[in-house]
């Protein structure tokens, strides 16, 4: 009296973690091949990078400091992406955030520190929110594509600040940058510097962890996240259901801009302590890669930002100890970005592998069933 209905054998599908890890591994392997071709020992190179990122508390602190703005911009890009928007304006949003913080540092030195910290964080976020919000507004109101408007706003921010710096926050000696912010007016803090001496680690990493949690909650648990995801996944259906699509586009760009603005505060008044007048922060673009590798998932973004910061922080010691040009580390980063951008290839590869395993198991069972049938 055995049941005739055989248990179903399920076919595995590749998850996004597996796909991202595959991209990382493939990128590292490709980098190793490149090193071999130009005549260096890849094992030594990897050891150098890891050494550069982790040997000693100063270096660990430095790696974390590099990761901080990457987490914020990664969150910014990932959050906008959930709502179906591509925020490529992280750099401009960082610049305006950093500029506002620098203004407070220049004019608000007397404000008590706890209040001062709150003010620069909040106003830096506001500035980024306005900058991102403009893109959102243009998209919602005039159907201007956010990629176009946010790239243009990057340059608007750059030239705007180009004029602001000499006029309002001049450095007494050098014309090409803003006044240096004294240590006690940055986000750097004794509490963290004690653990990671002589590194640029600052409160930013704590804010970043908080931001990860907040964004995760917004996306997974709130009605706001529900709406944003609905708009991102199917605008027509969201509209039909009565969700205000335009308003959600603006809101998501405002939040994305605020995150990138905060990245600017931690970068220009934490990691660094000045703004160069004519330099677009590359973190605004690196954040796209971070979000891509992290699959726009806040937790994933944390780890992918950490991974990129290891490469970035480690590449200095790579060239110092083995004479490998730091561009190699950049090339590895670029390769990984290529591999994540084409992650669908890895997904297909894994799924094909899973499928053949699945077919083999089915075949095996069919053979067993067949022999059972023969006995009857």
């Amino acid at each position: 009296m055995k049941s005739k209905e055989p248990r179903l054998i399920r076919e595995h599908k590749a998850g996004s973690l597996l796909v991202s890890l595959s991209a990382v591994v493939a990128g590292i392997l490709a980098g190793c091949v490149l090193l071999l071709i130009i005549g260096h020992n890849p094992v030594q190179a990897i050891r150098d990078i890891v050494y550069g990122a982790f040997s000693g508390r100063r270096r660990i602190g430095q790696t974390i400091a590099v990761a901080t703005p990457l987490i914020f911009v990664g969150l910014s890009v990932g959050f906008a992406y959930k709502a179906g928007l591509f925020n490529i304006g992280g750099s401009g949003q960082m610049l305006v955030g950093g500029c506002v913080a620098s203004l407070w540092a220049y004019y608000g030195a007397d404000i008590p520190r706890p209040l001062y910290l709150c003010i620069i964080v909040v106003t830096g976020m506001l500035a980024g929110a306005v900058w991102g919000g403009i893109s959102g507004f243009l998209k919602a109101k005039f159907k201007v594509h956010e990629v176009v408007s946010s790239i243009m706003l990057n340059w608007s921010a750059l030239w705007f600040i180009y004029e602001i710096i000499p006029a309002f926050i001049p450095d007494p000696n050098v014309n090409s940058r803003s006044a240096t912010i004294p240590n006690e007016l940055t986000l750097r803090t004794e509490v963290l510097s004690q653990f990671f001496p002589r590194s640029y680690i600052n409160w930013g990493i704590v804010y970043a962890v908080i931001a990860i949690v907040v964004i995760k909650i917004i996306l997974d648990k709130t009605t706001l996240g529900f709406q944003l995801k609905a708009v991102g996944a199917n605008r027509d259906c969201a509209e039909y259901a009565g969700i205000k699509v335009d308003r959600n586009i603006v809101v998501s760009m405002v939040i994305a801009g605020a995150l990138a603005g905060l990245a600017g505060v931690t970068y220009y008044a934490g990691y660094s302590n000045m703004i160069y007048r004519n330099s677009m922060p590359s973190e605004g673009f690196d954040g796209i890669a971070v979000a891509l590798l992290g699959n726009s998932n806040p937790i994933g973004i944390f780890f992918s930002a950490l991974f990129f910061s290891i490469l970035k922080a480690g590449k200095g010691s790579l060239s110092a100890s083995s004479g490998i040009p730091p561009e190699i580390a950049d090339t590895i980063i670029a390769t990984i970005i290529y591999f994540t951008a084409t992650s669908v290839l890895f997904r297909n590869l894994w799924n094909r592998l899973f499928h053949s395993v699945y077919e083999r198991r089915l075949g095996k069972r069919a053979a067993v069933n067949g022999s059972e049938g023969g006995e009857k």
Binding site: R10, T222, T223, N234, C237, A241, L362, G363
Partner: protein, 508 residues
Amino acid sequence: MSDYVIEMLGIRKEFPGIVANDDITLQVKEGEIHAILGENGAGKSTLMSILFGLYHADRGVIKVRGKEVRINSPNDANDLGIGMVHQHFQLVHNYTVTENIILGREGGFVLDRKSASKKIKEVSERYQLNIDPDMVIENITVGMQQRVEILKMLYRDADILIFDEPTAVLTPQEIDELMEIMRSLAKEGKSIILITHKLAEIKAVAQRCTVIRRGKLIGVVDVASTDVSEMAAMMVGRQVSFKVDKQPAVVGKPVLEVRSLNVLNNKKVLGVKDFSLTVHSGEIVGLAGVDGNGQSELVEAITGLRPVVSGSVHLLGKDITNASIKERNESGIGHIPEDRQKRGLILSQPLYDNFVIKEFDKAPFSRYGFLDKGEIRKYSQKIVDGFDVRSGEGIDSLAGKLSGGNQQKAIIGREVTAGPELLIAVQPTRGLDVGAIEFIHKELVRHRDSGKAVLLVSFELDEIFNLSDRIAVINAGSLIDIVETSQTDEYAVGLMMAGIRKEKKDEK
């Protein structure tokens, strides 16, 4: 020598979470039209994909002309003389008929269009397909595109022809023509497999019919000696009634009042002209008309998806002409949209999100802006159970993984469960099988019987007549007339759909 040209014996195919084909056998004789009948998701397409080399059977044997074969790809199938007309045509739109037909069969380095074109013309004439080989695909009708697909199979010397739901995209006249073509093909000795869930078509052309249900073979019947209701019962697994049982309407207060409405269409001209209509509680008003006569614009104006030029829309006496979509939803409009995949569902999200897409921001589904996943799941489970929405992983299934019929049931479940005062159902049963149609019709009538108003928009007169208490006819954006269903017939409504107004015989 066996007298079957195709034999699929004991075919089994599993997909994650579902057995699509469970020990199915199909035997097709030479020169016959053999129908495969089954509901959506019964496994018809899977079986044909196996025969055409798109999938591998987990078990079973395929024989072509008595010889056991392995079909690994559509090319293998072509080499065995098997051709398939897919539901979605596989044509390059800016290529000519000839170019499309020889695509992939160019042979050699230089294209020999002239001789190909000549052969195409010959085949076309032989089967009366009426195709000009030099026409560009995007300039010919859907019916003609389908004939190009048929021609493609014939050009490649296929003599076993598979038609996958061929009539879904055709007008009634085109369907008649296709049936004629199929008959003449069979007469020439071609063997035809017709996949469908439309019983009338099977009755019209097929000799034998293999019925499958939920992946299992139910039986093979001789079409001439079996009547339609028997076949329907085999397909669905129970007796199906084609007539909807309903009591006379108990008509109450006006729910929807549309007054002198003018609405622009996508071409920025008036798509709805001076349209007035009242729908009362407890009645179903059917809006009859040929597709594209302003139905979509009217519905979008009522639901708030499209602005109004002039005129007004009232719901339960309240002016909602310029209200937001959300306000309309909340004041009691439910809407089963025309395009279930574009508007009705978010395909990449799980079912439970889709079920609360309109109400996620209200208690009990959320409080103070935070979602209550437990309540959402409980509510979703209720809809899935109540409306028999079948899916691989229950309420966690992505909406896009459901079959068309189940997607539609999910939407109807969502809209009906919300209990709207006015339910607007646009083409609620398009592309569905009889079982699902029967179920959906019952739900609409039940909604009416609970004292709510229903506005049904359909291009199928059968459906309009089956369900409606009153029929409003729209032509070129204008209301032609509103009549009691019991006082009219399909002929009269058909004339009105063509814009011909009936003379009023008895003046008051």
